[in-house]
Symmetry: C2
Subunit: 180 residues, 2 copies
């Protein structure tokens, strides 16, 4: 009998600039899973510029498996967690996990948990008191995963809604800024 749910050996490490092509590939895979692939408008070039220059806009962890466990397409980088620091005026420093992704064949092996726990550890080391993220309400497997680990749904509990200006609305608003 083969145990398909064994804890595959994997390594979590900080992403390097050279990993941006793999991150870009997985960003698209995640968007397909979230049913919004046409929304992705970013390439590994922007990822390199925005994450690997002074004052980067984000930090990223990747999960890597050994060569013998590589995918059929030859990939050994099979998951990532992309995060940045935010600020609560009630509690102070926080870390926000924008994306957490593990390739389908590698799920159920502790990799997602490992990536998320590492983000939490890095946040705690930086004196962050919260780890936040957003989840699509129809994504029941992910919701269950996060709640099982102790996360709270603030939208359900307190009624927080996410708002956004973009495109024309953002540029119109910017034009109406008072002069200095």
């Amino acid at each position: 009998m083969v145990d398909t749910n064994f804890k595959m050996s994997f390594k979590v490490r900080a992403a390097k600039k050279e990993d941006c092509k793999d991150i870009s590939r997985m960003i698209m895979e995640l968007a397909v899973y979230e049913k919004m692939p046409d929304q992705v408008n970013i390439s590994h070039k922007e990822l390199e510029r925005d994450g690997f220059s002074p004052n980067p806009f984000y930090e990223c962890l990747i999960a890597e498996v050994s060569d013998e466990n590589k995918t059929k397409d030859g990939y050994t980088i099979v998951g990532y967690a992309l995060y940045f620091y935010t600020y609560s005026t009630w509690k102070g420093r926080s870390v926000f996990m924008e994306d957490l992704y593990v390739m389908p064949d590698f799920r159920g092996k502790g990799i997602g948990k490992g990536l998320m726990a590492k983000v939490a550890q890095i946040g705690v080391e930086k004196q962050c008191v919260r780890l936040q993220f957003s989840v699509l309400e129809w994504n029941k497997p992910s919701l269950d995963f996060y709640v099982a680990k102790g996360a709270e749904d603030l939208t359900a509990k307190e009624g927080w809604h996410f708002f956004r200006f973009d495109g024309q609305a953002l540029h119109q608003l910017a034009k109406e800024a008072p002069e200095d």
Copy 2:
């Protein structure tokens, strides 16, 4: 007849370290308005440390009125917008407005709009393609204000829910990080 809805003259400028006591005062006023005053656990000292050192965790704008329009308690700083930069793996650089507040006696005079428009302008200058924020669903005046300016409710439209680990759950998660 007195027009109480006139456009009061005000100035929007970047906050300085010396403004942190005023910001701290208004953070508490906003929390009282949001019915969660017991949640505020931050003083002007932390605001000074986190916003006014190298690699700050946030940036802040304040709105100031002239001395003749000061409050009955003598304040001339009557509003603030606190924001930071985030990152979308679909669209790139974004700006997140954590707080937008104007003291009650100074509402309806274009000050909130002015602060928000200035955040948008600063974001656009930094090549941000989104201005995001969160709003409590019962806060109808604020919801209406944002929607009237062109913002979209992503929770209602796409089903995004806000999640959080904090306190014991965060520390437990951090302890489970894989070793390097």
